[in-house]
């Protein structure tokens, strides 16, 4: 029974972290109509920046949690202004190619700066150790913290998109950029803002994941594939879809690792293939017709 409960908590933990990252991918797609192939690389960059701030400079985790994502968001603004602006209005293929090139650039730069080795950082003292939950289950405090961060961001994003002016503007821009522009909204700023927000979410994911997982040059690849699986399962561009897809993948990992270890690796892909066969536009996707 406690094995089941642990698996369930792990699922939630993995799922909410994936949600934070995949929803960033979705926001960028919604507003810019671009799939950012470098999204996983930005996640990795968040983790490496956290490693530098905490492991090398000795700053507290909380400082890294604030500073690293802002740094990555700043980089995203530079990327948008320097590179992406060349291909706005071009065929969608060109945007895919360009962010794919970005993936190569960021991945390789990371390897050149920080090396190919594996790094680890410890969770802050406040979140170290385990907690005994009601029912006698012992669970790492840090993983509970990750669940908390995921829930907080879920609520925050929901409020942003449903209760704030800026969120409504983003949704308007994602539905029809020309119309938003004709209403006097500065679409350039909205586009750059959305790209930065997406990058910020990826980097928050990276910082939060760092104390749980190894920091290595392959971590971005792993997460971008997972994020793709999430948005394909949930439906590209759908906010609830990202949540459902992420939780589904969390369950696949949380339980698959425990009960089906031999095929654990390809289970997410089997799940994605099933969704593609039954509901090609994803569980929450809108068929455009």
């Amino acid at each position: 029974m406690s094995g089941f409960a642990t698996a369930a908590l792990n699922s939630l933990d993995i799922g909410l972290l994936l949600f934070v990252i995949a929803v960033g991918l979705n926001i960028v797609f919604g507003v810019l109509n671009i799939i950012n192939f470098a999204h996983g690389a930005l996640y990795m960059l968040g983790a490496y920046l956290a490693f530098t701030l905490i492991g090398l400079l000795g700053l507290p985790f909380w400082v890294a949690l604030v500073v690293a994502p802002l740094g990555v968001a700043g980089l995203a603004i530079v990327i948008d202004r320097l590179l992406l602006r060349f291909i706005y209005g071009r065929e969608i293929t060109d945007s895919l190619l360009l962010t794919f090139a970005l993936l190569l650039i960021i991945n390789e730069s990371t390897r050149l700066i920080w090396g190919s080795g594996i790094h680890v950082i410890d969770p802050p003292a406040l979140l170290a150790g385990t907690l005994t939950l009601p029912g006698g289950l012992r669970y790492p405090v840090y993983n509970l913290f990750v669940i908390g961060v995921g829930l907080a961001l879920l609520a925050g994003l929901w409020l942003l998109f449903n209760r704030s002016r800026i969120g409504r503007i983003m949704r308007a821009a994602s539905l029809d950029g020309d119309m938003a522009a004709s209403l006097g909204i500065n679409t350039r700023a909205v586009v750059t803002g959305a790209f930065a927000l997406g990058a910020w979410l990826a980097a928050v994911g990276g910082v939060v994941a760092a104390p749980m997982r190894a920091i290595d040059p392959g971590m971005g690849d792993k997460i971008i594939i997972e994020s793709f699986i999430v948005v394909v399962i949930g439906g590209l561009g759908s906010f609830p879809g990202a949540l459902i897809g992420a939780l589904a993948l969390g369950v696949i990992h949380g339980f698959g690792g425990r009960y089906l270890p031999e095929i654990n690796l390809i289970l997410p892909f089997i799940g994605m293939a099933l969704v593609l066969l039954v509901k090609p536009h994803g569980l929450m996707g809108q068929k455009t017709d």
Binding site: I35, T93, F100, I225, V232, P280
Partner: protein
């Protein structure tokens, strides 16, 4: 300049390039045999990618999966069964096509955004399997230690000699490229180009666009598998890196470097790519970084590729003169 004269020039030029390629082992330094072998094999890989991208208009980020599976197929058959090379290559092509059929079936259902994501994701699944299924694939070390067989039963070519292997590769790739060229110029190829420009109109002409895309993807998988089958004996190993997405980036850049609108573009791109790689890795480890920067610059400023830009410049010049 008249069209006939242009065509004659093209034929003469192609014959000269072919003669030059055949002569490489006799006229160029030993080292260049290896460069030329790599160029020719990767040229086929890039051309197979371009059937999907340049002709059918679908951007695949998972092309290494078919190339890598082809490499593993030949390596495994050589290791366990010692079939003649030509049979190994056939197995590689079939393996590439079969994998492309499965991945393609799931990936061509929706638009190009999904296609790019899904090909990357499924490609990485294949990488993951090759990496972890140690009993068959030998994990991260890959399949090595196989002996080369005859090319075909009773053919006594010494494939261990790099010059001989190069000529075998050149012959196989010329035949494969001729076949690929026929496909591109056929009625089927014409439909693929039409699909790239306007899939909806093709559907309203009564054709099942998805089936045509899947067919193109499967054919491309076969040729990529063949390229992988040629590469494994050359490298003496089939390793997971050959399946990784960063390997998929190579045909993408080659095709774009040369020019996606031309059949020969990817071959030109492969030559530029390999020469550039050889030169750059001579003084820095950051080749992948250069690759990324190059791809970004090409996409932003030279979308027609080197070959395409040059050809456009040439035809403009000759157009001015007439």
């Amino acid at each position: 300049m008249s069209r006939v004269l242009m065509r004659a020039l093209g034929v003469v030029g192609a014959a000269a390039v072919l003669a030059g390629l055949v002569a490489v082992p006799w006229v160029a330094p030993y080292f260049y045999i290896f460069i030329a072998t790599e160029v020719v094999i990767l040229g086929l890989l890039a051309a197979s990618f371009n059937l999907v991208f340049g002709y059918a208009g679908m951007l695949s980020f998972g092309h290494a999966a078919f190339y890598g599976v082809g490499a593993y197929a030949t390596a495994l058959v050589l290791l366990h069964l010692q079939w003649p090379l030509i049979a190994c290559l056939a197995v590689s092509a079939v393996a590439g096509a079969a994998l492309a059929l499965v991945i393609g079936f799931l990936s061509v259902r929706l638009d190009e955004v999904y296609f790019a994501m899904l090909t990357l994701a499924f490609g990485m699944m294949v990488f993951g399997v090759a990496y972890q299924w140690r009993s068959v694939t030998n994990g991260s070390d890959g399949i090595a230690g196989f002996m080369l067989t005859d090319f075909a039963p009773g053919v006594g070519w010494v494939l261990d000699d790099p010059a001989v292997y190069y000529h075998v590769v050149l012959g196989v790739v010329i035949v494969a490229a001729a076949l690929l060229y026929l496909i591109c110029r056929s009625s089927f190829g014409q439909v693929l180009r039409a699909i790239a420009q306007n899939p909806e109109r093709v559907a309203f002409c009564g054709l099942n666009v998805r089936a045509y895309r899947l067919a193109a993807f499967t054919v491309a998988g076969a040729f990529a598998g063949l390229a992988g089958g040629l590469m494994a004996p050359f490298l003496r190993v089939a390793s997971p890196e050959m399946l990784h997405w960063s390997m998929s980036a190579e045909p993408v850049l080659m095709a774009i470097l040369g020019g996606t609108g031309y059949f020969l573009g990817p071959f030109v791109g492969a030559a530029l790519f390999v020469l550039l790689e050889t030169w750059i890795t001579g003084f820095t480890e950051a080749w992948m970084l250069v690759l990324g920067v190059l791809l970004a610059l090409m996409v932003m400023f030279f979308r027609r590729g080197v070959f395409g830009t040059a050809l456009a410049w040439l035809t403009r010049r000759t157009g001015d003169r007439s």
